[in-house]
């Protein structure tokens, strides 16, 4: 019997987004990344439907992280106090496609540092590496609203991905990202309706939909990843269905989430050596979300990055 043809009549596709600005485009990046563009479900249709290769944004924290488990912190011994050297290490040794500079140090509970610090770190990292940057706030609205505009300004023209903005806190950062020529991350707490709402709110302010990347929040493997997984699949279906408010590429956070869970850091002989298990938990979290259709994965451990890169290179050309 002949194999029947599958005819897809998808009305839409995932937006194609380019991050980073080289000299020709008014920035100083030496490379850019393009994400999105998928015109089918993950593994649906032919290779050409798969869109752009997903990319890895490796986390660099503005301030020495005090709570990282040893298995993770050891990988960055000697550079944890220098975001510039840290970023360089990620790019040169792990082949990070992007650096996600996270400003945990400005949070009132973890340093309460000021704008001068954040701007300097941003400038240092921009100077140290040529890949595009993600600039990620600390999660405290007051501090983010005060300091991220300065960070944005310091990276003006570099076409960074900045955020995240949320349903109840989006105005100041959206305005500044627009003014400084950055792409914007819209965040929702594992709720697809709120996800769409934030996109509507930011676009009502005149922010172009095609410059948005969504962050649906992430659960680690074993701790709610199925919620993120299904939301990413639903987002892809909405994009293919032609919903312009849901056609953005997606970023997820495998690094932070997976290193919080005990399977990644607890000594337990029957689960195998923690030196291997920690990175594997992070890689597995990332791999799982890639099956649901994410475009940028935030990651931390070099070993985990290597595993995920190898996987991505097998699937996307």
């Amino acid at each position: 019997m002949p194999v029947p043809e599958i005819t897809n009549s998808f009305a839409g596709s995932v937006n194609r987004v380019t991050l980073g600005a080289t000299k020709e485009s008014g920035g100083t990046r030496t490379s850019t990344v393009t994400i999105g563009g998928s015109t089918n479900v993950v593994y649906g249709g032919s290779s050409s439907d798969a869109g752009q290769k997903p990319v890895i944004a490796m986390d660099v924290i503005d301030t020495r992280p005090e709570t990282w488990p040893d298995v993770l912190a050891q990988s960055y011994e000697g550079v944890l106090d220098s975001p510039a050297d840290w970023a360089k290490k990620c790019v040169e040794e792990s082949g990070a496609d992007m650096i996600c500079l996270t400003f945990d140090g400005i949070h009132p509970d973890t340093g309460d540092k000021d704008g001068g610090h954040a701007v300097k770190v941003t400038q240092d990292v921009l100077a140290a590496v040529g890949v595009p940057l993600v600039l990620w706030g600390c999660g405290n609205n007051e501090k983010d609203n005060k300091i991220l505009p300065m960070v944005s300004q310091a990276a003006k023209g570099e076409n960074c991905l900045i955020g995240p903005v949320e349903e109840d806190n989006y105005k100041s950062l959206t305005a500044i990202a627009l003014a400084d020529g950055h792409h914007l991350i819209t965040k929702a707490p594992l709720d697809i309706n709120i996800a769409k709402q934030v996109n509507i709110l930011t676009s009502d302010m005149g922010f172009p939909l095609e410059k948005i990347v969504t962050f649906q929040a992430t659960g680690a493997l074993g701790y709610g990843i199925e919620y993120a997984y299904s939301i990413q699949e639903r987002q892809r279906m909405a994009a293919l269905g032609g919903d312009k408010m849901m056609a953005m590429p997606a970023i997820c956070d495998a690094g932070y989430e997976s290193w919080r869970v005990k399977e990644a850091k607890m000594d337990a002989e029957q689960w195998g050596p923690v030196d291997d298990r920690g990175p594997m938990w992070e890689a597995a979290t990332a791999i799982c979300l890639l099956q649901a259709g994410v475009d940028i994965v935030r990651m931390r451990h070099p070993k985990a990055v290597a595993t995920v890169k190898k996987f991505i290179n097998q699937i996307w050309k």
Binding site: I6, S47, A284
Partner: protein, 445 residues
């Protein structure tokens, strides 16, 4: 393809005899179409009607079982492409190889290692569920001996991997009582493998290098009387395999294309343990019913098993933890008491944040039918009475000397009533669990 109510109605006796319990044949037909009734309920249905209806009602993807008794496993019977559309029914069976090149102690050791890959996390048991004996030696006797050994000394379901019909016949002869999965029939050995499968009543894997060849092969096997078939691809890159698995899934479910209406099996033998785990997770998600790996590293298997557990969970049913008092660290009579809900995500988030604080604690889990704090509060499943009852029932007052209860910041509004209902001093904790460590270290003291 499923029949509509009217199509079913035409096949019924149209006597409105009400013996099925419905007022009319039409009403019964409508119930049948919605799968809310069974044709067996109609005592007057003709044989012709039964045949047409059962053919149409057969699930688009067949369910296959192998192994026996408590360790029997099942694959297939999936109905959707995305778990959010309903749910996935048969969690991917993770299997690990045992080579028949091993003998004696080495063979025994490998079998024991594979069988021992069982884990417990968040209160659930997960583990490798099948052992795949591989005919690497090319020798029929060695294969049969290794298969017999695995069958005898492992509780796991058995998969026999050889493309040689002679070797398969020898191995099945020794293990048929345990209903192994025969892997694999190919275009070259289809007749012989079909005969072994039919004689032993064991399911068989059909293996080909393209979707088209696979369709030809399953039709051939079906023509030879084989009903229980598992699909497998050989010689493909991981990308090709994932695309082919997806195509087969779409064809079987959306087009009800019967030659591909079977569960699937994948073999992952390349790469180190971490790479195998990565490939295995992708295959389990999209859409392999059985994945055979070479690695026996727990660090690689645990995340893969966890991924299967998560992705194959029912999206309609929140996973719950037992409502009781949990002890984190070694709490004593002066340790803090916190309460949260029995939604597993809520509980395990709180648990891990309390652990991180290194402050020994009691966590009271209130039964909120698996809902989170805010949802439970809005739905009145979390109120002062539920908390007070839990404190009494769990004997919390015997465990601690103090009478201070830390409550989730999101339900600060409960404080007054809760204080009245329990007589405890209420301390409002942080809204986000991630701030618990700081709270316990600084505010509690």
């Amino acid at each position: 393809m499923a029949l509509t109510g009217l199509e079913i109605f035409k096949l019924l006796p149209k006597t409105n005899c009400k013996k099925c319990g419905k007022p009319t044949c039409l009403a019964f037909a409508m119930q049948l179409a919605q799968k809310k009734a069974k044709l067996d309920d109609c005592p007057c249905a003709s044989d012709e009607a039964k045949e047409s209806l059962s053919a149409a009602a057969a699930p688009p993807m067949r369910q296959i079982t192998f192994g026996t008794g408590e360790t029997q496993v099942q694959a297939g019977q999936e109905t959707v492409l995305f778990r959010h559309d309903e749910k996935f029914y048969s969690p991917t069976i993770i299997a690990v190889t045992v080579s028949d090149k091993l003998a004696g102690d080495e063979l025994q050791k490998r079998i024991d290692t594979v069988s021992g890959l069982q884990f417990e996390r968040v209160g659930c048991k997960i583990g490798v569920r099948a052992i795949a004996v591989v005919n690497d030696s090319g020798d029929a006797d060695a294969f049969a001996a290794a298969a017999a050994k695995a069958d005898e000394s492992s509780d796991l379901a058995l998969i026999l991997c050889s493309d040689s019909a002679d070797a398969m016949a020898a191995a099945v002869a020794k293990t048929a009582a345990s209903k192994p999965l025969i892997a694999s029939a190919t275009a070259d050995n289809a007749e012989a493998m079909a005969k072994i499968a039919n004689d032993s009543k064991c399911p068989v894997v059909a293996k080909a290098s393209s979707l088209k060849d696979l369709v030809d092969l399953t039709e051939k096997l079906a023509g030879l009387g084989v009903e229980d078939i598992v699909l497998s691809f050989e010689g493909m890159s991981l990308e090709q395999e994932l695309r082919s698995l997806t195509e087969a899934r779409v064809l079987s479910l959306k087009k009800v294309f019967r030659p591909l209406g079977y569960p699937t099996l994948s073999v992952v033998s390349e790469g180190d343990a971490a790479e195998q785990s990565a490939s295995g997770i992708a295959l389990a998600c999209k859409y392999s019913g059985i994945v055979i790996l070479d690695t026996v590293e727990p660090f690689a298997l645990l995340p893969m098993l966890t991924a299967v557990m998560n992705v194959y969970s029912d999206p309609q049913k929140p996973i719950q933890v037992e409502p009781k008092m949990y002890e984190i660290g070694e709490p004593d009579e002066n340790s803090p008491v916190i309460f949260t809900t029995n939604f597993s995500l809520t509980y395990y988030t709180v648990e891990s944040d309390v652990e991180a604080s290194r402050v020994p604690c009691y966590i009271i889990v209130v039964d909120t039918e698996g809902t989170s704090v805010l949802t439970a509060y809005s739905g009145d499943k979390l109120n002062e009475k539920a908390v007070a009852d839990a404190i009494t029932k769990l004997g919390v007052e015997d465990k601690v000397k103090h009478r201070k209860l830390i409550i989730p910041g999101y339900v600060a509004v409960m404080s007054g009533k809760l204080e009245e209902a329990t007589g405890w001093e209420i301390m409002v904790g942080p809204r986000e669990s991630s701030m618990l460590a700081k709270y316990l270290q600084e505010v509690w003291k």
